[in-house]
């Protein structure tokens, strides 16, 4: 052991001497760099810190509108930690990678779906269905959302509670609200909602855990969605997204009642329909993205849907690159509602396909 370490030290020394013989550094380097460093520290550090404390003070002042003592808000936020790795992850997620145009994702569907349509997740989904069959049936009756769709969402979000995140929500939201300018407004609002939420739910603000973006529980609800859509589905007096039954009711309630666009989940209506499209019309129809148009209008623009049953409904063109070629679907209202959970056609497709697989597994057992 000692010999090994000695050996390594000698090697290291040897390598350095070789390096410096061949690439001698300029002599004045050190002093210049030191000067640069001191200069930069001197001018940037105070401004960075000052900007942040100002932001927090301002936020704390705004919270008085909601009946909070600014000193309390500041003291809570002082106990939160800024997590640099969250900023790194958000930057990676937020910027489209090279080669992806606006309407086509950089990762094709057939690669993307491998993360979600796994044998393990299908098995877990069928087991979760058996375990919570009564709650799922009740959710289907009350909200009209099929059990398998609820299972698809909870499966994609957290693998049925196995991966609900281990960041303190207060750390995640504080990091993004004050150190991520691109979405600061959104995350400051969520931080505000979080303060109100923990007051309503009588929780310690330092305790709730969740994703790096501040999403919580089985269904990964952001604080504002938590306040608005989480229901006490097991009637124990608490709206608890970390409880499986409350989560089942809450996901169904979200799909049924999410009110920013869309008509809410429609009972007994399909999610999507397979379709053909005139090749030259594809790009124009994909450009509409989530801007739902009537099927009649889409047909006039080149959609070749083989039925007139949905002519008066709204829809959007969905393109998926599968292992056996590129195929098209029309996403109907219920597809749109799944995209309100996460604004991505691949996400909605993964949820729907996972749902179908789980249903099939549940039925064949």
């Amino acid at each position: 052991m000692v010999m090994m370490i000695l050996n390594l030290m000698i090697l290291n020394r040897f390598w350095k001497s070789v390096r410096f013989t061949f690439f001698p550094p300029p002599k004045s380097n050190f002093m210049i760099q030191l000067k640069n460093f001191i200069f930069i520290i001197f001018f940037t550090l105070p401004t960075l810190l000052a900007a942040k404390t100002d932001d927090i003070e301002l936020f704390a002042q705004e919270m008085t509108q909601h009946g909070f003592d600014p000193n309390y808000v500041v003291s809570v936020l002082k106990q939160a930690k800024v997590k640099k790795n969250i900023i790194t992850v958000m930057n990676r997620a937020g910027v489209p990678s090279k080669g992806s145009s606006g309407k086509r994702p950089s990762t094709p569907w057939y690669k993307y779906q491998r993360n979600f349509l796994t044998e393990q997740r299908i098995k877990q989904g069928a087991a979760f269905w058996r375990e919570h069959a009564a709650a799922l049936q009740r959710a289907e009756q009350e909200y009209g959302v099929p059990a398998e769709i609820i299972l698809g969402i909870i499966g994609v979000e957290t693998s049925y509670g196995r991966n609900m995140g281990s960041f303190r929500i207060i750390d995640a939201l504080m990091t993004l609200a004050f150190n991520y300018p691109r979405r600061a407004e959104y995350f400051r609002n969520e931080l505000k909602e979080f303060f109100i939420l923990v007051r309503e739910q009588n929780l310690n603000p330092l305790e709730p855990l969740g994703s790096y973006a501040g999403a919580m529980g089985f269904g990964q609800f952001m604080p504002s969605s938590y306040r608005e859509y989480v229901v006490d589905f097991n009637h124990d007096g608490h709206r608890n997204i970390w409880n499986a039954e409350d989560a089942i009711g809450s996901v169904a309630n979200y799909l049924k009642n999410y009110n920013k666009g869309g008509a809410g989940w429609q009972r007994d209506q399909p999610v999507l329909q397979a379709t053909l499209v005139r090749p030259e019309a594809v790009d124009g129809l994909l450009d509409l993205r989530f801007d739902m148009k009537s099927i009649t209008e889409l047909k006039n623009s080149g959609l070749q849907l083989a039925t007139d049953r949905y002519d008066h409904d709204l829809g959007m063109l969905v393109e998926m690159e599968t292992e056996v070629g590129t195929f098209y679907w029309v996403g109907l209202n219920n597809f749109y509602m799944i995209t309100r959970y996460n604004n991505s056609t691949r996400y909605a497709m993964a949820v729907y396909q996972l749902a179908q697989r789980i249903k099939n597994r549940y039925e064949t057992q």
Binding site: K16, F20, N29, F30, Q33, L34, N36, F37, I40, I41, T44, L45, L48, G94, V95, P96, P181, R182, R183, Y186, K260, G261, G262, A263, Q266, R267, D268, Q269, Q273, A274, T275, L276, R289, F290, D291, M292, Q304, L305, A306, T307, R309, Y310, H312, D313, L314, F327, Y328, W329, N333, Y336, R340, N342, N343, S344, Q353, Q356, R357, N360, E363, T364
Partner: protein, 170 residues
């Protein structure tokens, strides 16, 4: 000479570390300022995912059709060759009026009513799928025609046999 040399190297090491720190700080600073000076036009290119475009009109949804009854098929049992829809069929009508979907859990058989459900098994690996009968089988070579995804889930290769069992009404 040896000592001085080591000291000089250590000094350089420290300098390099400090330089790294200074550089990251600089980068951070520039990153911040770049983000602050983002023009509205650039923002338009990458809209934040949580603020989707909202349709201006509420969708008018057709009234829900009466729930489909699945007819009883529990008497049905057969085995034989399975065929698979060609992928070009995606988006075209089946005999029931439903549209064929490569990811749909549907099948064509010769002699069962539409919406009847069958359980198809690959005897070689025990994989099973439950499919809804939505189409008429016109050839006599196969006992059933499967959707693309059904064949995938059964891990079926061309020319393989399957067993088909009808399921009771629901």
């Amino acid at each position: 000479m040896q000592w001085r040399c080591i000291n000089w190297r250590n000094g350089l090491k420290i300098a390099m570390k400090l330089n790294k720190l200074a550089l990251t700080l600089l980068l951070l600073l520039t990153a911040c300022s770049v983000q602050k000076t983002e023009t509205p036009a650039q923002k338009m290119e990458t809209p934040p995912p949580e603020q989707p475009t909202v349709p201006t009109e509420l969708p008018q949804v057709t009234p829900p059709p009466p729930r489909k009854m699945t007819p009883d098929a529990s008497h049905y049992s057969t085995q034989g060759l399975a065929s698979v829809y060609p992928k070009q069929s995606h988006g075209s009508s089946m005999a029931s009026g439903e549209i064929y979907d490569i990811y749909g859990m549907t099948a064509a058989v010769a002699d069962l009513p539409f919406n009847a459900r069958v359980e198809v098994t690959n005897p070689l690996n025990g994989n099973k799928v439950v499919l809804s009968v939505q189409d008429r089988l016109t050839t006599r070579e196969a006992v059933i025609q499967l959707s693309y995804i059904a064949a995938e889930l059964l891990e079926l290769r061309p020319g393989m046999q399957v067993t088909v069992h009808g399921l009771p009404a629901r």
